[in-house]
């Protein structure tokens, strides 16, 4: 962003002001995440930087809270992590299957009432979570699925499918349908065509939609708070109770692990997006 040498002073000032604003905003966005990191190694029980930490005294840092997180007595994190992963994995699989099928149908130019149906399919993403939570709770209570893993998985499929529908539809928008016609004309049956031709081409979109569904389920707390019993507790629910009641640094240890997880997911999603754009021939 070097300025040309003929720039007037006032524009020069304005330019540096603009850079300063942008720096501030980027800092505002990213800095909060880095506060958690050092504090999770705090040797003391308080959520503030101790004097020792400010002096970078090695004794002020410890793995105490990570140890607590994994081996602590009566600690809920083990069960919560297991539940979170089981629920998120099944919800992701469900969302991918239902969402991909729907996206394939929606991308067909023969699809009637496309706009209306799309609006319904995306609605779980738009409707406030508290309302979805109330409605889903009423349904699950009626069919006897409240406080079960199945109930929570179904609820998370509802919340996850819009992401799969959006990403797969976007991938299909640049899809060259003549390749499937070529496959059919060469004697392939529809299922074979889908598995061998369509799926490999839309796979980046499917996976990135799946990642969104996974993160949505893994991070979802409002609906789970309505549905979950003690046995179905998840990581976000534990964090929620922890943040409301006893604010212990163990939460920060968990949060650090979650930040690392989300960084990994971000990198995967970015790589997939670029691969997808390359496959679809979009050069940016």
């Amino acid at each position: 962003m070097a300025l040309p040498s003929y720039t007037e002073t006032r524009y020069r000032i304005w330019h540096y002001f603009y850079i300063a604003i942008c720096t501030f905003v980027f800092f505002f966005l990213i800095a909060p995440l880095f506060v958690i990191f050092p504090l999770s190694f705090n040797a003391e029980e308080f959520l503030v930087f101790s004097e020792g930490m400010k002096r970078l005294d090695p004794d002020a840092f410890s793995f105490r809270w990570y140890h607590e997180m994994v081996y602590g007595t009566k600690n809920p994190w083990g069960l919560a992590a297991k539940n979170s992963f089981i629920i998120a994995i099944f919800a992701t699989i469900g969302s991918i299957i239902l969402g991909t099928l729907a996206a394939l149908g929606l991308s067909s130019r023969h699809m009637p009432y496309k706009g209306l149906i799309m609006a319904v399919l995306i609605s779980p993403m738009i409707v406030p979570l508290i309302i979805s939570g109330v409605a889903i709770f009423f349904f699950m209570a009626k069919v006897g699925l409240a406080a079960t893993h199945t109930g929570i998985v179904l609820a998370h499929i509802i919340l996850g499918t819009p992401f799969v529908v959006i990403t797969v539809t976007a991938t299909l928008s640049g899809f060259d349908h003549s390749v499937t016609r070529a496959a059919s004309s060469l004697g392939s049956n529809p299922v074979n065509t889908f598995m061998k031709i369509t799926l490999p081409l839309i796979l980046p979109g499917v996976i990135s939609g799946g990642l969104f569904a996974f993160v949505t389920s893994f991070d979802e707390v409002v609906v789970v708070l309505f549905l979950a019993g003690l046995e179905n507790t998840t990581i976000p629910v534990q964090m929620w109770t922890g943040l409301r009641e006893q604010l212990s640094p163990t939460i920060l240890a968990v949060a650090t692990c979650l930040i690392i997880l989300s960084t990994l997911i971000l990198v995967t999603a970015e790589l997939l997006r670029r691969r997808s754009e390359r496959l679809r021939g979009i050069n940016r």
């Binding site: 962003m1 990213i30 995440l33 958690i36 929606l106 009637p112 319904v120 949060a255």
Partner: protein, 420 residues
């Protein structure tokens, strides 16, 4: 002439037009069948339950089912003076059934909400019936009226009559701090008890300001990201995407650490001498906390749509504007800014929709003065267990959101939502 034109036939002798229509229909069904599983699943588990929230919110059949004979007899009563003997007889026989089933307590509680004082007089009547003090061969009206003087008060009978319709809008009125007065007209709750209206206004206010803050902060960085060379912008994009992918609770937790009284933000204010060390301001558990945390959490939803629109604007347009004599400011205002309006619309509507239904962050950092309507809904779902009121408020919020969603769909189109 046209009748003589030979119809074009396919090889199997069917007119081409018919054959094409058939193929078209087949394709339509095929496409629909692919969407059907998800659509069916959503309708059963999601759309119908939301509809059920509506029936739950207006449902007032309890009294209607408890006092069928009373309401039948009341149809002829004009409601101005004490009801005639038949109404009392009807009420007596209905009430006797309730006493036998031991459900008269529920009726008393429900009627007590309609008019204070019902609970004690139904209990009194119940005791009289249990002791067989009511002689059915004599006038029931006289005997019931003797049980308590309130049974002689026409207002209590009017209150019973008001509960006759199986459906009521009372919960919706309560959500707007209004209620049905004794004469059936709509009245306002006393000024010092109008809690819901404050909450609605506060929700709107916070959603609006969060949207404005997100716009003011998001526009410059989206512009920077769109104009920087790829290798720098990719790096900076991570600053936007990492919070986007990080758990909501993690981000809220970090704000709770930053904003606490002994937290880093306050440390910094003390360091630069903005506040005294012994007079650190409270920045959490009030509106400030809600504003700061929600703005940071929703900012990516503003930046991403803005960025995708700005990316498509050719830099040569700005150069053309400048070469035609515009100053950089004029070129920006007259050329660049109007082209970004679709992105502004998309980003602002998305942030506003998300902000208006926010629950987790306000509940954790908002305290009493920073909570929103969602928190009130959760409170009634979990604490007071007034599910029909929670449903009513939920649907009032939903109708607002759906209006914005409809506008969004008209302006942007839901299929244009960009993720990542």
């Amino acid at each position: 002439m046209s009748s003589e034109t030979k119809q074009i036939l396919t090889t199997d002798g069917i007119p081409l037009e018919v054959s094409l229509k058939k193929a078209e229909k087949k394709n339509k069904i095929k496409a629909f069948l692919l969407v059907a599983p998800l659509l069916l699943f959503l309708f059963i588990t999601y759309v119908f339950p939301i509809g059920e929230m509506f029936t739950r919110s207006v449902d007032d059949r309890m009294v209607t089912n408890m006092l069928p004979k009373t309401f039948k007899a009341m149809e002829k009563w004009d409601g101005k003076e004490l009801p005639p003997e038949e109404v009392f007889v009807g009420f007596y026989s209905d009430f006797k059934v309730l006493v036998e089933n031991q459900t008269q307590g529920k009726l008393g509680q429900r009627l007590n909400k309609e008019k204070n004082g019902f609970n004690s007089i139904t209990k009194k009547l119940m005791r009289q019936i249990k002791r067989n003090k009511i002689d059915e061969s004599q006038s029931i009206k006289e005997q019931i009226m003797k049980v308590h003087k309130r049974w002689r008060d026409v207002e209590y009978w009017q209150a019973i009559k008001r509960t006759a319709p199986p459906y009521t809008m009372a919960k919706y009125l309560k959500g707007m701090d209004m209620y049905f007065a004794a004469d059936g007209s709509i009245a306002q709750v006393d000024e010092d008890r109008r809690i819901h209206r404050i909450l609605w206004l506060r929700t709107l206010e916070i959603a609006l300001f969060v949207t404005i803050f997100c716009f003011l902060m998001g526009y410059p960085i989206a512009h920077l990201l769109a104009t920087l060379p790829m290798k720098y912008s990719n790096l900076l994009m991570i600053c936007v995407l990492l919070p986007f992918w990080t758990s909501l609770l993690v981000r809220t937790a970090s704000w709770m650490i930053l904003l606490q009284q002994q937290g880093i933000v306050n440390d910094f204010f003390v360091l630069i001498g903005l506040v005294a060390d012994n007079n650190r301001p409270e920045m959490m558990y009030n509106k400030v906390g809600t504003y700061v945390a929600m703005t940071q959490i929703l900012l990516p939803f503003m930046v991403l749509p803005l960025y995708s629109v700005m990316k498509t604007i050719s830099p040569s347009l700005m150069r053309a504007g400048k070469s035609l004599g515009g100053t950089p400011f004029v070129a920006f205002w007259k050329v660049y800014f109007p082209l970004t309006i679709p992105g502004i619309g998309a980003g602002c509507l998305l942030v506003f929709i998300l902000a208006i239904g926010y629950y987790i962050t306000p509940a954790l950092v908002g305290g009493a003065s920073g909570t929103l309507i969602s928190n009130q809904i959760a409170y009634h779902m979990k604490s007071t267990l007034d599910w029909s009121f929670a449903s009513a408020m939920g649907l009032m919020l939903l109708s607002g959101v759906l209006v914005i969603y409809w506008i969004y769909n008209k302006l942007v189109g839901v299929d244009n939502i960009k993720l990542g």
